[in-house]
Structures are given as C-alpha cells and as structure tokens.
C-alpha cells in the first residue's frame, strides 16, 4: 500500500527499509525511524480512536508524550499494552495495534449515541442521577461504556529489571539544552547520566532542520555531541528512557524501554523488556523542554486537527504531510512557523487565522511575503466533518475577544493546526515540590523556587525559549553542577555552543476560550481535556455549582485527570476558570503534579519480585514434615504455620475437631517455633523488664517463668508472652509470632533513647530454637520416655524451666501451657528440631500423639479464655478491659501505667472481654459480628454494644463458644445479646470468658 502522504525526500527515516504493520486489522507500511503515528499519517490515516465518554472520532493530535487522543491497544494478550500513545510507539516490523473502546468498529461506533445525548450528561451527571437505590448497581455498565484500553488478562510473560545508579549530574532531556549540559558536565570528568525518552537525541532540533548551531546545521551538532558523549567514559546516555518521577533528595525514577522497539522475532532473549532505574543524583539538571498549548475552540477535536508544532514535526522529522489543505489557527507568532513549513512542503495552505489584531513578527512577515492568506483579528468558530475534518468556519472577533461577528465563513480543509503558546514541561520540577510563577511576558507557568538542593531547570523547561540563551543557560548550569561536585571546569570546556536567538512565539494574544457563533455548549463542543472529554461548558457548570478552587473544579469535571494528566489541557482549564471568575491565571493557580509523567507498566515496578520472590517466606525446621503430612498452612506474618492436618476424607472442621479432642484426651503436638524469642541479658535486665511489663520480673527466681503483658504508653495492650529467668542476669522473653520484630524494636528503642544508663543487651534468638509443644494428659508420660529429667510437679512445677536432654539433644523445656492442659514446650537448637519432633512422634504413637495446627491451638486456648493479642485486642484494649487487673502491678511504674488511670480508661461502658454462648449451641457466631441488645422492633440507628473477637465450635464443650468485647460486659453476665448478621440475628448469652476446666485442675495434672 503506498504511503501517499509521505514526502519524496527528507526526514529522519530509513527509506531503504520498509516495515509492515497492522492497525485495526488493516496492513500498512512505514520505515525505520517512524512512530506508529507518523506511519499512520503517511498512509493518510487520521482517525485512530474514539473518545472516553462521548465516543467521538479522534485523530492524532500531537507528536509526543502529550498526546491526548491517539491511544491504541498494542499487541495481543498476554503481550498487550493498553493506552499506548501512537506518537511515542516506535514502529517495528510486525507491529499490531488496535483502536480502543469502540464497537463494532472505529468508523461505526454505536456508543456514539452518548454524544447525541451529551447535553443531558454533563459533569457529575452520573453521580447525581444514578443514586437510587445505590450507585453500585449502575457503576458497572457505566464504566464499561466509558473508558480506554483493556488490561492484559494473562500473566505477563516478560522479564523486567531494576537498576540502581548514582551519578554526579543527571540530565533529563536530550534536546539542545540537555545535550549542551551533558557535554559541559561530561567534559569535566563528572559522572553524568543523560536521559532521553525518544529513540534519538536532539529534541526540538529534530523537527527544525534549518536551525544552526556553531554555524552548522543543528543535526550535525547533535551528531557530533552524541559522538563525543560516547567517548567520555563517565557519561552514560539512556535513550528510550523516560524520567517519570522525581522523588525526595534527588532520587529519580527512569523507565528504559529496552526491547519494545524490536520486531518480536528479533528481540534478544537475554535482555529484559524494560528496566526501572532509580538514580540518586548529586545534581539534577532538568532540560525537559516545553509542550505546545492548543487553542480551545468549538469542535476542536476532529481527526485532522493537531498542534502546530506537531505538524512541523511530521513534515520535517518524518517527511509526512499531515493533510492536503490546511488552516493554521494561532494566537501568536509561532503559528507562522507551521504555516511556512506546511507551505514549503507542498501542503495547500488555505489561511492563517490569527487571534492577534496584527501580526508583525519576522515569521508572519515572511508568511505574508510568501503570499499566505492571513486573517488577523479572526477566530475559528467551529469545524465540520465526521470522521475527518472537512470544513473550518472562521469569523472576525470583537476587540475584547469575547464574541464573533457573522455566521462564520467556511473554509475547506482536511488539516487544522493550532498554536496557543507554550508550556514549560515543569512536571518533574513540580513533583520535586518546586513552586511555579506565572510569567506574564511569556504567558506561561515557569519554575520559581526549587525545594531540592542541587537542582537546576534549564532551557524551555525554565521558560528560556531562544536557542542561544538555552545553550548558554544549560552550559552554565552544568558547569556549576560539575564544579560543586568537585570537578575542574577550567579550560576550553567553558564555552557554550553558539546559535541564533529566536523567541518565535511571542507576542501572543491570550484568549483561553475562543468564542463561537452560538452560546457555549450549544451546537458543538469546546474540548479542554480531550482525553477525558471535558469541555469548557463542563468547567463553567462546575463554577455555577459553586466550585471555586481549581483542585475542586479538576476533581468534579475530571479535567487533567486522564492518563495524560492534562499535558495539553491544564493551562487552558486554568485560563478559562480565571476568565470566568474574573481572576488572573496565577490567582487561580495550578493543580498538583504527581508521578508518573507518563504511565509505567506494573511489570516494571515489580521487576523480578514476582511469584516466589514477591515476599519472603519463613519456615520452621519442621516445615518439611508438615508438608509431608498433608498440613494446610496459614500465613502468620511472613511465617508459614501448619494450620491443620486433614486426614483422608476430612474437611477442615473435622480435622480441627479431631486435633482439639486429641490434645485434651491424650496428647497433641504443636510446632511453636515461630513464637518470637528474645534474650535479655545484663545486670539491669530485671529492672528493664519491670519497666516494660505490667507485672514484676526482677523478683522472678532463676528457672521460673511468668506471663507478662506489655502496653504502649497509651495504656493499650501491645504484646504478651512468657518470660523465663535463665540466670541471675539473663532472661528469655517470648513474644507473639507476628509481634516479634516490633517487640524487639520497642525494647531497643527504650534502651537506646530513654534508658541508655541501663546495662541490658538484647539478642533475637527466634530462629536459633525449634520449639515443639506437647500438650495433654499424656504429655508427661511421653516426655519421660525421652528424657532423664525429673518431671514430677514438685521438682518441675507449672511455670518453670529445666535444661536437659530430650531424645539425646540438649534442650530447654518450659512447663507452660496455652491450652490449659499439662504442657511442655521443648526448645532445641534449630538444626535438631526435625529429629526431636520425629522422635516425639515415633514414641508418641503409643499415646496416639496427634499433631495439631494453629486452628486447633486457637480453639483450645479459647476454651480456656486465653487471649490472642491482635485478635481479642486491636490497639484500643487495656488490661482492665480484658479483666486482667491481676497482672497489673500497683507497686512500680511501667510503660503505659499512668494512662490506665485516665478518666476514659475507667468508664464503666468500656468494651470488656466476655464469653458468649449461642442459644442454639450448634450455631457458631461469625467472628467480627456486631452485637445489639434487641432483635425486634428495631429502627436505625441501632446502638452497637460490642463485637465477637473469637468464635469456634468446641468439641470439648459440645457447643459453640465465643469471646467478645462488649460495653460494660462484666456487668451483663447472663444477659441476652444478638449478633446482627445481614440476613438474620443469632441470640446468645453473656458468660464468663472461660468454658472448660474452670478450676484449672488439668493444668497442674
């Protein structure tokens, strides 16, 4: 198929090779050097998309990262990327792209009915209208009708890498400013990284071949600069790399597209698809250029309408005629640049429509000399043409720029380019918290105060538009950065490249909303944000409804909130709001810029941290045994804990019931290795523990153990566990599995910050010990078969510790119990854990030893009313609430003690721990269920009096049991409460939080 809009010569494309690609199923040819957009335009394709809300036909609007319309779906699942800007997609052989968000086809899209009804669906319409019975019933269909591309459904097969780099000077942007900066800094020997999102260096120079630098065509200068940079060993040039984020302290995020531009059959298998760089730069030079601002006029969104600078780029860089007959619409001198380019490349130029009352600059003079028809003081009042621009309507404008005269004179054209001035690309600068100022002479926001050290913004990004000034500024900033980084900047390196000064877009007539022959919103649309289909009428509606802050107007209308973040629309929106409110643009101000500058695929953020590498897994020494015996696992923190061990034909409930029974009837064994263990050593260890725990540990005898509760200073329970005195100056603290790291940090914090005088040393020994708990009436008999120790209660009572051998391995044995049964916690060095566990299982066969998991452990402890921190507590529960006053010392100070006497802590209606028994004992309350006082004649608001914290079927009690936090619960014993569920209520009775062996005989068995 011929590329009928390709110019016969020129452009930075390789005409010797052709690349075949498809768009929406149709095949086309392009050349290396093309983007998808330039190749489509070369084939005369303008219509590439349907719009977000109204499904309006849309074309290619720009030639870069600012593209609002030409978003396409690239590739096939799983290698598919939605919302790719055709203007930035490098063409490769076999590329396949599809139009997004249209049905049945791009040309005929049934959803365009939304456009016909558009007067009925302004901003906020959906939220205002679909309120009954609930927005949730409407959200799905509405979101399907609106939207952009489709995310891949299959897992991403590609590999992504993360790289970390440091440099002295990071230069963002490889245009004239960035190149001058990189050269100047690089020549000093400084470590420089130059980042360019394009596949070529040169920036704006690529589209302006007539520009001269150092007395030669700028293309030569760019080539020489690139060649020189390649010779500098400390300089790294990253092309196809977007700096998408500027974080604190000069940390910048880069996305390097490594193989996206290769034909699929050519992609080197050893390379990742993309690399995510995090660069910590000593100095940052932002040379990010500027983005042209379109004019906002009626029906400014048709295919065939684009930015003036984009037209120049397509003509000069890609040798593509973006149309056959063009109209240029401008408010500034710079628009004439496009007019001259179009005319010289053989496009029939119908007219330049200039909002200015007179055009007297060098470019407009040249245009006039070349016979281009110019209408100053005129406006484009509208356009026509469905799938492609056909006509442009123009009319004279009044002196105030508020209205036009006459009905609009038609001009036949298939291309309309507009220029409304330039916006410095300040996104990264603003992400780094830099502030902007409005420059009246340039009519744009430019960088004001920097909030980062060692940062400079140069060139157009800084509002410096003349090429000569740009080069001087960039050069000077780079030398200053290199100097500050300690590199000598003397000698010949210190001259900036020279060029001709052209500030060609000034002067300008600022009119943000171009009037039409009909009132706004009637008979056409003035699009401000084309990607989100936000019109000027939407903005005015928001202000009529009372929105004043630009941040609110933005959120209400969603202007600037699409994937392009308003790169071509934000200033126009601010200008229109300002004009309407009678304020100046700086008074209205800007919205917040946030990363990423352009979208980054999730794969790049994830890098190789996927699948097994997503999160570390911690396993105990006995993990292999649990696996081999069919355990189901649950995650506790990063630990994999055996949850229950289902036997053939058992479901979870059956397995847990069997395990729970076994631990009470004979003996069960639990892997408790995950409990946190901290050794606390030093002459002040006892004093330290007295301050940390609510109860006293300094008086604990060697070899004895005590349960302790830890509070934060606000008096709320933070962790619990048993601490044993191993020696006069040595304690072993156990913590909850999930809380181990936090407790360690908590202890360290107090020792280092508040009590550095205490001689105490902490060592985490969680992983050094394997812990297995045998629990049940036969626990002693079993252990006796594997140890010589005297296990009689007299010599080894409850809450004590003994050291000896178990199965021939040196062990610490703690007689402590979390089940209410006679229990021994056997600790052996980790490497012997599996062997000792297997010995216990082997010898335990005669007692029908039963391994039990965490679920059975929970049931067993709940039968005894033992709390689990994080289940019965949630950071708002005190020891008093738990009924644990017995553990709160009155004789000493400890962390959180003073808070316990605050008035709020003593209120009678605080939630207190109680037990609950359901009326129908077979019914198990759902954990988290809210409790109410009545189940009949209830009308909202219904007071919630508490909630269920733990609830299980208890095979040992033969009924369900639950723990709950209930307001004033201890005074409600015997009271009836109701668990309120979505479809019913369950009635239950408040009891003591203790259901089994209420006298505690078994514990001492």
């Amino acid at each position: 198929m011929p590329q009928s809009f390709r110019l016969p010569e020129g452009g930075l494309i390789d005409r010797a090779r052709s690349l075949r690609f498809t768009f929406d199923g149709r095949s086309f040819d392009g050349h290396p050097g093309d983007t998808l957009a330039s190749a489509l335009l070369a084939n005369g394709v303008h219509l590439v998309a349907r719009s977000f809300k109204y499904h309006r036909p849309r074309g290619i609007f720009s030639a870069g990262a600012e593209e609002p319309n030409a978003l396409v779906q690239l590739g096939e699942d799983p290698r598919t990327d939605p919302n790719q800007r055709a203007t930035q997609v490098e063409l490769f052989d076999g590329l396949s792209a599809k139009a997004q968000h249209c049905w049945p086809s791009l040309e005929v899209d049934f959803n365009q009915v939304t456009s016909l009804a558009s007067r009925l669906i302004p901003s906020g319409f959906y939220y205002k209208t679909f309120m009954w019975p609930s927005w949730k019933y409407f959200e799905g269909p509405i979101r399907r009708a609106a939207g952009l591309g489709k995310a891949p459904r299959l897992p991403d097969p590609d590999r992504y890498d993360k790289c970390f780099a440091h440099c002295d000077v990071l230069v963002v942007g490889g245009g004239p400013a960035g190149l001058a900066a990189a050269l100047a800094a690089g020549r000093t020997g400084a470590r420089v990284i130059l980042v360019e999102q394009d596949n070529r260096l040169g920036g704006s120079l690529l589209s302006a071949p007539e520009t001269q630098i150092e007395g030669a065509p700028s293309a030569d200068w760019v080539r020489e600069a690139e060649a020189e940079l390649a010779t500098l060993p400390e300089v790294k040039v990253l092309k196809r790399t977007t700096c998408f984020a500027y974080y604190d302290h000069n940390l910048l995020g880069l996305l390097e597209k490594v193989t996206d531009h290769y034909a699929p059959y050519d992609r080197p298998a050893e390379l990742p698809r993309q690399r995510m760089w995090r660069v910590r730069a000593g100095h940052v030079i932002l040379a990010t250029g500027a983005i042209e601002r379109p004019l906002v006029f009626r029906d400014n969104d048709r295919p065939g309408i684009m930015l003036a600078s984009a037209a120049s780029s397509y003509l000069n860089r890609w040798a593509v005629k973006p149309g056959s007959r063009a109209v240029v619409f401008t408010n500034n001198e710079g628009g004439y640049r496009a007019a001259l380019d179009l005319k010289s490349r053989g496009v029939d130029l119908a007219a330049v429509i200039d909002l200015q009352l007179a055009a007297e600059g060098p470019l407009s003079r040249r245009a006039r000399d070349e016979g281009i028809p110019i209408k100053t003081g005129y406006a484009v009042t509208g356009t026509s043409g469905h799938l492609r621009l056909k006509k442009v309507f123009v009319a004279p404008l009044d002196g105030a720029g508020k209205r036009v005269f006459g009905g609009g004179e038609p001009i036949e054209a298939d291309l309309l380019v507009s220029s409304g001035g330039w916006n410095p690309t300040v996104h990264l600068f603003c992400q780094s918290k830099g502030t902007l100022e409005w420059d009246d002479s340039l009519a744009c926001f430019r960088p004001d105060a920097s909030m980062q050290r060692n940062q400079a913004v140069v060139g157009a990004a800084n509002g410096t538009f003349g090429l000569s000034s740009v080069l001087v500024e960039a050069h000077a900033a780079a030398l200053a950065a290199a100097d500050a980084a300690g590199f000598s900047t003397g000698g010949e390196a210190s001259t900036a490249p020279t060029s001709v000064e052209e500030r060609d877009f000034l002067p300008m007539r600022e009119i943000y909303l171009v009037p039409s022959i009909k009132p706004l919103g009637q008979g056409g649309k003035h699009f401000v944000d084309q990607q989100h289909d936000v019109t000027a009428a939407d903005l005015l509606l928001a202000m009529r409804e009372g929105y004043r802050s630009i941040e609110h107007v933005k959120r209400y209308t969603t202007t600037g909130m699409a994937t392009d973040q308003g790169k071509t629309s934000n200033v126009a929106a601010i200008g229109i709001v300002a004009e309407h409110l009678g304020k100046t643009v700086p008074e209205v101000g800007v919205t917040t810029f946030r990363p990423p500058y352009t979208a980054v695929t999730f794969g790049a953020f994830a890098g190789r941290d996927v699948d097994d590498f997503l999160d570390p897994e911690r396993t105990t020494p006995m993990h292999a045994w649990h696996r081999a015996h069919g355990a189901a696992f649950e995650d506790v923190g990063q630990w994999k804990r055996a949850w229950y061990y289902p036997q053939a034909g058992e479901d979870m409930a059956a397995a847990v019931n069997r395990e729970v029974k076994a631990a009470r009837d004979s003996v069960g064994i639990l892997d408790a290795s995950t409990l946190g263990k901290i050794e606390i050593r030093g002459p002040d260890a006892g004093v330290f523990l007295d301050r940390i725990y609510t109860n006293v540990f300094s008086t604990l005898k060697v070899g004895r153990a005590r349960y302790g509760l830890m509070l934060k200073e606000d008096g709320m329970v933070f962790d619990d566990g048993v601490t044993t005195r191993l020696a006069e100056d040595r304690y072993l603290m156990t913590t909850t599995t999930g809380g181990a790291a936090n407790v360690m940090s908590w202890l360290e914090e107090w020792l280092q910050t508040e009590w550095p005088d205490l001689k105490v040393y902490l060592t985490s020994v969680t992983e050094q010990w394997a812990t297995m708990t045998i629990s049940g009436p036969n626990a002693r008999a079993l252990l006796a078969e594997l140890t010589e120790l005297d296990l009689s209660t007299d010599s080894f009572p409850h809450m004590s510790m003994a050291e000896g051998e178990v199965a021939g391995v040196k062990a610490r044995i703690f007689r402590i119990s979390f089940t209410g049964e006679l229990s021994y916690e056997i600790n052996v060095p980790s490497r012997y854990g599996l062997a000792v566990w297997q010995a216990l299982i082997r010898v335990g066969q005669k007692y029908a030893i039963t391994p039990y998991g965490t679920e059975a452990m929970h049931v067993l402890r709940a039968e005894k009313g033992f709390i689990i921190v994080g289940q019965e507590t949630d950071g708002s529960v005190t020891p008093l609430d738990l009924g644990m006053n017995w553990i709160v010392s009155k004789k000493k100070d400890f962390l959180g003690r003073r808070s316990l006497s605050r008035p709020d802590m003593l209120k009678a209606d605080r939630k207190q721990l109680v037990g609950l028994l359901t009326e129908d004992g077979r019914e198990v309350l759902p954990e988290g269920a809210q409790l109410v006082e009545s189940n009949h004649d209830i009308r909202p608001p219904i007071p919630m009096v508490g909630h269920v914290t733990s609830s299980y079927w208890s095979p040992n009690c033969g009924q369900s049991i639950a723990l709950a936090l209930v307001k004033g619960g201890r005074d409600r014993m015997g009271e009836r409460l109701y668990a309120a569920l979505p479809d019913r209520t369950i009635s239950c009775t408040v009891t003591e939080p203790l259901f089994f062996d209420k006298t505690g005989e078994r514990l001492h068995g």
Binding site: Y247, D248, H249, N250, L251, R280, K433, A449, M451, Q452, R453, E713, D714, S745, E748, E749, Q752, T753, E754, P756, D893, R897, R898, S899, S901, R902, P903
Partner: protein, 97 residues
C-alpha cells in the same frame, strides 16, 4: 525517598530506616505527679510545624541505632544529624522563607 545520613553507616535510603516521631519528648520521671492533661500531652500531642522538625530515626535495616535529625518539612532537607540525648545544633533559617 529520603537519603538519610546514618551517623554510623553513612548515607542510606529511607527504606532502611524507621521513623520515631518527634524528638526531645522526655518520659516524665514521676508520672503520678502529672495531671491527666499533662500526661496525655506527653503521650499524644506532637508538633506539626511548617519548617524545621526535630525527629528521631532508627537505622532499622542497618546498625539498628537511634539518632536525632533536624528536617525541613517543606523541602524534606535533612539539616543536621545528632546523637540521642544531645541538644539540637544551631540551624540556619529555611531558605524558602
């Protein structure tokens, strides 16, 4: 992400550290002599100034040592690092004021 100069390990990325809130809040020596108001001020009330904050950090994934820092809440610049128990150094006026 901040680059925090750990006094023991050198400059390290923020993810290696944990934040410890405002510095120089000493635990009252005699909590019982405080009114409820005074105690709750100690427990709950913290400054949130625009400008310099004195705060505590711990190099949790490094040397695990605590230290004090002076940081500007506008620029996030870290102006000084000093040991626990020491008074903050003299600091220049923020340059954006």
């Amino acid at each position: 992400m901040l680059l925090i100069p750990c006094p023991h390990c050198g400059p390290r990325a923020e993810i290696e550290f944990s934040y410890g809130g405002e510095a120089h809040i000493a635990r009252p020596e005699e909590p019982d002599e405080l009114t409820d108001q005074e105690w709750s001020d100690y427990v709950f009330m913290r400054r949130n100034p625009k400008g310099v904050v004195l705060e505590r950090w711990v190099h949790a994934h490094g040397c695990r040592r605590w230290f004090n820092a002076a940081r500007d809440t506008v620029t996030y610049e870290i102006l000084a690092i000093y040991p626990m128990g020491q008074n903050p150094p003299e600091l220049p006026e923020p340059r954006y004021l």
